[in-house]
Structure formats: C-alpha cells, structure tokens
C-alpha cells in the first residue's frame, strides 16, 4: 500500500510549487466524489524507490471557516472523503509570514496525524535577514521541521527523506508546550504563535518602514481607479494578442498534421464507408478537439505567470468596481476577456472566482463574447452586407463585439438580480509579494489544464463530431444529371484541353458537394425545421448552414461556400468568393443573401449559443446539464428575437 500524504497550508505559501517540485508531471487535477472543489493528486518517488501519493489540497486560512475549501480539507483530514484518513500531512508554511502560518499549523497538528512541517521560501526570508532554527521549531511543534525553497530546490531531498520516514511511521505530534486549543486568528492562538516565533526565528536587522516602499508604489499604481484600469487594459491586450497571435501557429500545425494524416489514410485505404469514417469522422473529430488545445495551453500558461508574479490579485481590485455594476466580481474580467479568443478556456478560467454564484453568472454569459470562431462568419456577412464599403464593414464588425459584450454584461446583471440573486462576497484578498514567475510552474499548470480539457470535454466533442459528420455524409446522394453531363464533357476534352477539363471537374465536385449537403440527414433536417427559421429570413439552404455550424461556428462559412457553389476550400477574404456568395440564389431563384437576411444572420451569430463544445464544457464545469440547457435556450431566444426584429426592420 502506497502511503498517502495530504499537503496543507495557507494560500500563497508556495504549496503548489512544492507539490509540483515533488511530483513533477506525475500529477493530475481531481475532485472527491460529490465535491466541485478541486485538488491535485500526484506521486512522489524517492531516490530509494519508495513511492508516496500526495494530495495537494486547496490553500485555506482555517479548517473551520464556512467555505467549501475549508470543509473539503477538514473532511479529508478526518477521512470523510477519499480513501480514509491520510497516512500523514505535509504542512507548508511561508517563512515570511510565520506568525500567521504557525497558527494554521497548530490547528492542523491538533488533528493528530503524523506530520512534517516544510517552512518554504526560506531563501527569500534569509535575504530579509530572517534566521530560522529548524531544531527549535521541531521541538516547539513536536514534528520534524525542514526549511526548504520549492523554487530553487533547497532542502527538497531532506524533506522527501523525512516525509517517507514520517508517512511510514505512526508518530503523532508531540510539542513541548501544548498547542492552542483555538482556531487561527483567536487571541490565544496569536499569543502562542508569537511565543513560538520568538523561539524559532531571529530577525536581527528588522526595521519598521514608515515611508512608502516600492511595493506600496506598485500596489497604488496597479489598483488605482484610472491608472490601474489603463495598465490592466495594456496587460490584457498583450495577453489577448499573444493568445490570438501565438495560437495560430500551433493551430495551423494541428490542421496541417491532421490534414496530412487524413490524406495518408485516403491513399492507403480503399474508398468506402470505413475510409470516410476514419478520415472525416474520427480524424476530423480528433482534429476538432485538439485544435482548441493551443489556446487553452497558452491562456493557462500566461495566466499562471501573471498569477505567480503577484499582479493578478491587484488587477482584480482594479476592475472590481466596474464589474460590480453588472453584478460580477473583478475576477470575472479575465475569463470574459479570454472568451474573446475562445469561450472554452474562458469558462475553465472561471475557477479563479471564489463565489459560486459569481462564477456561475460568468460561465453563463461568457459565450456572448465574440470568439475567434465567429470572426470568419462576421467577415463573410459584413462583406456581403457592405460590398465596396470597407469602412462600414469595419464598423459593423466592431459593432458585433460591442453588441456581444453589452448582451453578456446585461445578462449578468439580470442573472444576479433573478435566479442567481444573493449577496456578493466582498473581495478580501491577500496580495502576494511581487516576484519573478516560475516558468516551470506555469508549464505544469498549463499541461494539467490541457490534459483535463482533453479528458473531460475531448471525448464528448469527438463523439459529437462523429455524429455531425455522419448526419452530413449520409445517405449518399447519386450524382445529378448536370454533374454526370459535365463529367462526361470533361473526359471528352481532357486529351485536347486538360486545363478546361480540370475546371469542369472542379465544377462537378462543387455540384456533388451541394447535392450531398442537400440530400444528407442534416439537409433533410434543415427542410423540416426551416419553417421555424423562415421568420428571420432563412431558406432551407441557410437553415442547413446554421444547423451544421452548431458543431463550430466557422463551419457556417464552409457550408455557405458549398451552397453558393464556391467550393468547400474557398476563402472568405477572397473578393471573388464573396461575389459568388453575394450572387448565390435560393431554390426559388431569389437571392440567397438579401440585406435583411445577412443582417439578421449576423445578429443571430453574435448572440446565439452556436457551439456544442462550449455546452459540453459548461456542463462539466457546473456539474449539471441544467445550466448549459438554460444557457442554450436563453441565448437562442435572445438571438432569434433580435434577428427577427432586424429582419422585419430591414425588410
């Protein structure tokens, strides 16, 4: 049986950095059954080959606070969750905040489990002139105490050795003076901590600062009502631009690799259903999942750097006042902003928000933010709407972002006054010291989040992608007489005019694609539900395009290009393609895209919840399908109503 060790400590003690140092990549995020509060589990292997299972519990200030995190830690220590009581605890204390951390350690030691105390960030403390006596600390607390620096690795080997000894023994804490019988923050606990601190630590050069320190100046700038917002806007623009810009390279690489893989299968396997399933269903589905990974990894890597630097806590205060007007806390800004790149990482980033109602409201409004998948749709529709008027098209494009933002914030205010009514938790935050962020730590966090996404959402997205492919690919249509005639003509002229024959074959493939799309199950479904979309000006073909875009919004443009006869590989920015789309006609010969239809579709895509992967992630994050269903119905209703009004007004 591998001994289990629970890591406990106050927030900002470097507990997770220590956990990552001990476990490396052998860790993952987990939940105890019935709890939404996350913790990390990992395995530490000592030099002698002994294995330890570590449980990194959330950072808390007390085991008895009325907070889900405190309750989880308390339940874990008492064996009410998980596989019984852990074999030992590793209490992580910040050397720079010892008096407060000692009080927490005392309350945890009173639970009577074999324990080791790691006094972390001892290198920083030494730089401040603080000297810690491990021996005296061990006597005072009655358990082994090791001074470590999780960042530099100082003392880690000794800590692992001691942890192995303690976890395989049954030694209970044996302090030389009784531990305070009260919780952290009480007078008795504070007096005990002050006494112990005086015994174990010496601070010969300590001076009281009366003037403004550099920390004070930075805090004042970062939380200033105006300057703080400006600095935050700059920081977020950089973050957002980096995600947008940097992610395109791995995303293109993912596309390329899966395209190459699909071509490989096509050339190796005989044509048929199995090949179609492999190439378009499975490879396409995996590609549709993995393509989100670069943005998720980048966002969490950069967020971890910002959090580690100490800036994020200050930034939350800077935007708190503005966000409170819409019923959201300052911490909601970051997830909403990242949702402009993609709602998936944005929704996953709401874990920064401590209050459940605030977090739920943020998750529910995040998809209103215009994500990068909407960009090709906006480009196509504004291009169709404002032909030869690039300035107007640009304004319309920006307007889409503004409308989405207003709808999201307005909805948040509405939610907090109705179904999510309740007091907001005032933001009382510890502001960690400024420091150079750890790349190693940020990489571990990003990889963990990426794996969590693949594990939780990836499998569902893959299954949905395969179903959507099947609906678009079956039943197989037979070529139309027009297509057959063109193919025969191409065969005839091929020997004399190969380039004209190639052009004809392109036309044949476009006609076949369009026939297949119309005849498929998705096409048939489009015919059935078209009457519901008629009030917003959509015909059968556009209804199919809207339905197929439910997997991912950008699919809309591909479907429209196929419908218009421009081919599925057409580019939205190409003026020739836009012209083809503009001149496309319905089955009855009328134009496919009128001004009213285009405007209605544009507003529909700004406001509608046209993204199955987002719904899956919302279900995973909220632990119930109730919320994504509500979100889908609400957003569709708003989008439909707005599109209807626009269509009527413009008609």
């Amino acid at each position: 049986m591998i001994p289990r060790v629970a890591l406990l400590g106050n927030p900002n003690t470097g507990k997770s950095t220590l956990f990552n140092r001990l476990c490396g990549l052998r860790s993952k995020t987990a939940n105890f059954p019935g709890s939404t509060v996350e913790h990390q589990v990992g395995r530490c292997v000592t030099k002698s080959g002994q294995e330890l299972d570590l449980i990194d519990l959330p950072g808390i200030y007390s085991l008895v606070l009325e907070m889900p995190e405190s309750k989880l830690c308390s339940d874990c220590l008492d064996g009410r969750v998980g596989d019984g009581r852990p074999d030992a605890t590793l209490l992580v204390l910040d050397a720079n905040n010892l008096t407060r951390n000692l009080q927490f350690a005392a309350s945890a030691l009173r639970r009577g489990l074999p324990s080791v105390v790691a006094i972390n960030m001892v290198d920083l403390a030494q730089r401040r002139g603080l000297i810690i006596d491990e021996q005296a600390a061990s006597q005072a607390l009655g358990v082994p105490v090791i001074a470590v620096s999780a960042r530099s690795g100082q003392g880690i080997d000794r800590l692992i050795e001691q942890l192995t000894r303690t976890a395989t023994s049954s030694s209970i804490p044996n302090p030389d003076q009784p531990l305070p019988n009260s919780e952290p923050g009480s007078t008795a606990s504070a007096i005990w901590a002050a006494t112990v601190f005086a015994r174990i630590a010496a601070h010969p050069d300590e001076k009281k600062v009366d003037g403004m320190t550099i920390h004070d100046r930075l805090d004042a700038a970062f939380t200033h009502p105006l300057l703080g917002i400006v600095l935050f806007a700059i920081m977020m623009s950089l973050l957002f631009a980096s995600i947008y810009w940097l992610a395109q390279f791995p995303m293109n690489a993912v596309d390329g690799i899966f395209g190459w893989f699909g071509s490989g299968i096509t050339s190796l396997m005989p044509a048929g259903t199995l090949r179609d399933l492999m190439v378009n269903g499975i490879v396409g589905g995996v590609s549709a999942t993995v393509v989100f990974l670069p943005q998720i990894l980048l966002l969490f890597f950069l967020l971890a750097l910002l959090e580690d630097s100490g800036y994020l806590a200050r930034a939350a205060f800077a935007v708190d006042r503005t966000m409170r007007r819409f019923g959201l806390p300052g911490q909601a800004f970051m997830p909403l902003l990242s949702s402009h790149a993609c709602a998936l990482p944005g929704i996953m980033a709401t874990r920064l928000i401590p209050n459940q109602r605030d977090r739920l409201a943020t998750i529910l409004v995040a998809p209103f933010m215009s994500c990068s998948a909407r960009v090709p749709v906006y480009a196509l529709l504004t291009g169709v709407l404002f032909a030869d008027r690039p300035l107007a098209a640009g304004f319309a494009f920006t307007g889409c972002y503004v409308v989405g933002g207003i709808a999201g914030l307005g909805t948040a205010a509405l939610l907090r006054k109705t179904i999510l009514r309740g007091p907001s938790t005032p933001m009382m935050l510890e502001l960690p010291d400024y420091r150079i962020p750890s790349i190693r730590n940020a990489l571990t966090v990003a990889l963990d989040r990426g794996m969590l996404f693949l594990k939780n959402a990836g499998s569902v997205i893959l299954a949905i992608a395969i179903v959507m492919w099947w609906m678009s690919a079956y039943p197989k249509s037979t070529p139309t007489p027009e297509s057959v005639a063109l193919e025969m003509r191409a065969v005839e002229i091929a020997p004399t005019d190969p380039s004209a024959a190639a052009d004809l074959r392109i036309q044949v493939s476009r006609i076949d694609e369009r026939t297949q799309q119309n005849g498929s199950f998705a096409g048939q479904l489009g015919s059935i539900v078209q009457p519901a979309f008629a009030p917003i000006g959509l015909d059968r073909q556009l209804t199919v395009a809207v339905l197929t875009s439910f997997l991912a919004r950008e699919v809309f443009t591909t479907t429209v290009f196929v419908l218009a006869g421009a081919g599925s590989n057409a580019e939205g920015e190409d003026s020739g393609t836009l012209e083809t789309v503009r001149s496309a006609t319905r089955d009855d010969g009328l134009p496919l895209f009128t001004m009213a239809t285009s405007a209605a579709l544009l507003i529909f895509f700004v406001l509608a919840m046209q993204c199955l992967p987002t719904l899956v992630v919302v279900a995973r994050e909220t632990g119930s399908w109730r919320w994504p269903l509500l979100q889908f119905c609400y957003m569709t209703a708003i989008a439909y109503t707005a599109a209807f009004l626009v269509y009527r007004f413009m008609s």
């Binding site: 200030y61 007390s62 008895v64 606070l65 009325e66 907070m67 720079n96 905040n97 008096t99 407060r100 927490f104 919780e183 952290p184 923050g185 009480s186 007078t187 606990s189 504070a190 600062v209 009366d210 003037g211 403004m212 320190t213 920390h215 004070d216 805090d219 004042a220 939380t223 009502p225 806590a313 200050r314 205060f317 708190d320 006042r321 005032p426 933001m427 009382m428 935050l429 510890e430 502001l431 960690p432 010291d433």
Partner: protein, 86 residues
C-alpha cells in the same frame, strides 16, 4: 487621568499610518467575514500599516498584505499609533 484611546475606522487612516486592531474591532462585520479576516491575520491586537488608503484599502500585517473593499475597512475600528518623532 489618562485619555481613552481614540478608535477610528481603518478607512480613515492615512497612507503609511500604523494602528492597532482593538478588541471587538470587527464586531460590526458578519461572522463569516470576521472569521476570515482573523484567519488571514487581522486578529485582535494585531498591528496594521496602511499601504494604500481608499478603494481598495491595502493594509500590511506583519509581512502579509490584505486588500479590503472600502465598506469593510469602514467597519473595522482601530487605534492609531502615534509615530515617534526622531
């Protein structure tokens, strides 16, 4: 006869000013906020230094910095510590 110490809201302290959080200083706060603040280090008799007055009110206790909303800082009663003249 010694004067009784003056108690004022934490939010009224100036930047850099020090004060002691008195007994019952947090009594006007809801229990959950009071317990959280105490566990975060703002217990009775602790010494605070104001790093930034206003919203948020940033205070330093030992080596910990806490950011508090104005309405919470308004309800924490403290006794200013007279700064020593050199």
């Amino acid at each position: 006869m010694p004067r009784a110490p003056i108690k004022i809201p934490l939010s009224q302290l100036a930047r850099g000013q020090r004060a002691t959080v008195e007994c019952c200083a947090l009594d006007s706060l809801p229990n959950e906020h009071r317990c959280l603040l105490a566990a975060m280090g703002m217990g009775e008799q602790c010494e605070v230094r104001v790093c930034r007055p206003g919203t948020p009110c940033i205070v330093q206790i030992d080596q910990t910095r806490l950011g508090l909303p104005r309405d919470i800082a308004d309800r924490i009663m403290v006794t200013p510590i007279e700064s020593k003249t050199p």
